[in-house]
């Protein structure tokens, strides 16, 4: 394999390979045959994956964990030198355990999704554009992950937002889909604004406070600057670090779809299904979690902000799960489940269990990609998103069914699948957390546990409605049901294997086996990582595991009872709790509330200013015109004689002059030139005479 020095010099290949694919496919999309477009799109990502793997291995071969850091500086972006110090920004890539993990996920899962897309998008007329966007998306995400300073990270951050807009609105001729793309872009923009304000506040407070002691925005430099920031004078009664951390978190809520900026994610289903899988599993939504983990030193200096992160995460996890129960669109259920799972990641990050958050990010990438690709396979067969028109697909789509079941068990939290490992670690860390508010940790744990039960319930509902029972679509559709081509099922199988055994990288402490991921990530994370390993209360841990498994099983059991055993029960429940059901079905009316709070006031303001224009200004104008009319009637006779005479006289004079002057504008260039030269001549004469 390659040595660390070599890897350091080829780091730029990781983001630039997909970029090459994007450029080639984007420019030659009409010229290249579809087969070549597929090859370029997939191979570039696969090569990036290979580079990431070799980088990962060479990181592992570095003995001392704290030396596991490779930085490649490409060029100096900006350099300012003044008498007290210097400030420089470089375009540099940072390959450390954290970015290595994320790179593996993004390129690995990303490659599988590219491969799947070959089958899914077959026959679409703008495949070149699709693969160019997808490659660009990969590039932006890798740029975000590998960036060594915040500004470069922001470039990737914005690139990811742009690509999501392009891909969600991929079928832009459909107005609704184009609007979904715009919604994603605008909601993200709100979050990005928070990020950017945070960035500027950070920059300002660094240079205000340090007097030139800080020489850049690189993560190493920022980590050293945190004590300095923490000692800065508070703004509006809150520490600067807390402000910065909170503003960055606003950005994270936008990208990672947390309350209150999650509304774009369910609508993002308008894009092609592999894109949804890409957004939900490998790119985009993980950006917020990654950013907070990357800045863990900053957040550890702002415990209040961390508490906010934890509370928002836990509430989102529960809240989104409740909505998922009532949705009928298979992709929407999965979208809300993503929001809920992201909530768990933020919960983990919020209780300072950063490696656990990344662990859940990784396992979630496996099983959520699998769920979406499975759903895509189902949609491919049924040609509908509505679960009411599915059912009994088990016998038509055997591979999809089997792989989907793996993901289902993983997300529901059944041991020993990967989802159980990571989710349980989060709950355990939450239970043991020391948040600034006493008792809050336990409350969040309870909320998370409840959310886990709901997850098991709605996933059971989804599986029951889709694969079990009998087919509810028409007979015509039933004839067309078919398993997806091999190029789509192979990624499913690989992902299923990962979803099943992926949990092995983060075994709980009670097994007395090393938690590989936690140990690998620890050099990146400052201070402690309270993933539960410090608290050696194995008895309690086993008890909590049993509790959460029990909750998951009861969720599944309840779902089984409701949707398979007694299918009439859901209707009865719906009738009995009609108000609650409507509330959930309409997603707590959040879209409506946003439109009432933000959209309508703007429209109101527009209408109001229109009214003002019509009533007040027009009224004043009309009034003055009326007065003028009355007045002019009085002076009319005088007007006719004296004033008109004068006006007509002036007009006649102007006309006569105009007729005369018009002759100057002949359109003859030579006359113009002569006038210039004569002017010069006049000037010469003037100078010679005086």
């Amino acid at each position: 394999m390659l040595g660390p020095q070599t890897v350091k010099n080829i780091l730029w290949l990781i983001p630039c390979l997909p970029l090459t694919g994007a450029v080639v496919n984007g420019l030659l999309r009409r010229r290249l045959p579809a087969r070549l477009i597929h090859i370029i799109g997939c191979v570039t990502v696969f090569l990036a994956f290979l580079v990431s793997v070799s980088g990962f291995i060479s990181l592992l071969r570095i003995e001392e964990p704290h030396n596991r850091l490779l930085i490649q500086s490409l060029y100096q972006w900006l350099l300012t030198v003044w008498d007290q110090g210097r400030f420089s920004l470089t375009v540099a890539f940072r390959f450390d355990p954290l970015s290595a993990t994320l790179c593996l996920v993004v390129t690995g899962v990303g490659f599988l999704i590219h491969l799947y897309s070959v089958g899914y998008m077959a026959g679409d007329e703008s495949q070149g554009r699709y693969f160019a966007y997808l490659n660009l998306f990969t590039f932006s995400m890798l740029l975000l992950i590998l960036a060594d300073n915040l500004l470069l990270m922001f470039v990737g951050w914005e690139g990811v937002g742009l690509c999501s807009y392009l891909l969600i609105g991929f079928w832009f001729s459909d107005l609704e889909k184009a609007q979904a793309g715009m919604k994603a872009f605008i909601v993200n923009r709100v979050g990005d604004f928070g990020f950017f304000v945070g960035l500027m506040l950070l920059f300002w407070s660094l240079f205000e406070g340090s007097n030139g002691g800080v020489s850049g925005l690189g993560f190493t430099e920022l980590r050293q600057a945190v004590p300095l920031l923490a000692s800065a004078s508070p703004v509006l009664g809150v520490g600067v670090v807390t402000w910065i951390a909170l503003l960055f978190f606003v950005g994270a809520t936008g990208k990672s779809a947390q309350i209150p900026l999650y509304v774009w994610l369910p609508d993002a289903m308008a894009g092609p299904t592999p894109v949804s899988a890409f957004i939900h599993a490998a790119t985009m939504v993980t950006a917020g979690v990654y950013m907070i983990v990357r800045l863990n030193f900053l957040y550890l200096a702002a415990p209040a902000a961390l508490t906010v992160v934890a509370v928002v995460g836990a509430v989102t996890a529960f809240y989104a799960a409740t909505i998922a129960i009532t949705q009928n669109d298979i992709k929407r259920v999965l979208a809300y489940s993503t929001i809920s799972q992201l909530g768990y990641m933020f919960l983990a990050v919020g209780v300072a269990a950063f490696s656990t958050g990344i662990f859940h990010l990784v396992t979630h990438a496996f099983f959520k990609a699998l769920l979406f690709l499975g759903a895509g396979s189902v949609i491919h067969a049924v040609h509908s998103n509505d679960m009411q028109e599915m059912g009994g697909l088990k016998k038509y789509l055997p591979y999809t069914y089997l792989t989907f079941m793996t993901a289902y068990l993983a997300i529901s939290g059944i041991p020993p699948f990967s989802g159980f490992m990571s989710k349980d670690e989060i709950l355990w860390a939450t239970f043991n957390s020391h948040l600034s508010v006493p008792g809050l940790g336990k409350a969040l744990w309870a909320l998370g546990l409840l959310g886990a039960g709901l997850t098991a319930f709605y996933m059971t509902r989804l599986v029951a409605l889709t694969f079990m029972g009998t087919f509810r679509g028409g007979a015509d559709e039933e004839k067309h049901l078919h398993e997806s081509p091999l190029v789509m099922t192979i990624p499913l199988i690989i992902l299923a294997l990962l979803a099943a055994v992926g949990g092995a990288i983060g075994l709980p402490a009670v097994t007395h086996l090393p938690n590989l991921l936690h140990d690998f990530l620890s050099p990146v994370l400052s201070g402690h990582g309270s993933s539960g390993h410090e608290v050696h209360a194995y008895g309690l841990e086993v008890l909590l595991m049993l509790v959460s498994t029990g909750v998951a099983l009861s969720g599944i059991g309840l779902g089984y009872y409701f949707y398979l055993k007694r299918p009439e029960l859901p209707d009865q429940a719906r009738a009995r709790f009609a108000a609650v059901y409507r509330l959930l079905l309409n997603k707590y009316y959040v879209d409506e509330i946003y439109s009432a709070l933000f959209l309508r006031p703007v429209l109101k303001l527009v209408a109001l200013s229109g009214l003002f224009d019509l009533q007040v200004i027009d009224g004043a104008v009309n009034l003055s015109s009326k007065i003028t009319a009355k007045f002019s009637f009085l002076v009319g006779w005088e007007d006719l004689t004296i004033v008109d005479g004068a006006v007509n006289g002036v007009a006649a004079m102007v006309q006569r002059w105009g007729d005369w002057i018009r002759h100057l504008q002949t359109g003859r260039i030579h006359q113009y030139l002569y006038s210039v030269v004569l002017g010069l001549f006049g000037l010469c004469v003037f100078m010679l005479l005086f």
Binding site: V677, L680, C684, M687, L688
Partner: protein
Amino acid sequence: MKEIVLNVFILLTVIPCLWVALSSNIVHAAFSLLVTFFGVAGLYVLLGADFIGVIQVIVYIGGILVLIIFGVMMTQRGKLLSLSVQLPGKLFAGLLCGIILTALIMAASRSLWPVAVSLVNPEPTSAAIGDLLLGKYLAAFEVVSVLLLVALVGAVLIVRRSVRGE
């Protein structure tokens, strides 16, 4: 020696220049213009402005003159070659220009120019001009570069639209 070279270049500039002004054939005028530009470039070098001299050769002879000759070639049609105003117009223009020329020459030779007492030996100017362009005159430099860009895009646009219109 210097004087001889100077006079050669002055003749190289002025005689073709007369030809440009007086020749009735536009093609001849265009090629005389070439020699004039070359003469001016030589004068620039004599004045110690080596960089400007080279730029004069590159831009005027390599760019502008080629464009003009292109224009002449593309639009030549019989009598269009020798279009000029009537004789009275010529005489009047000649008179006017003659008076202005006299005035200019008088002003040039009679004025008390604040001439430097001793001339410094000219040095290569490229590096210093580069410094000035990216320092003191940066704003003007940028504005001119934008102007050039706009002019080129505009020129392409004008011609293209008419091509498409046909």
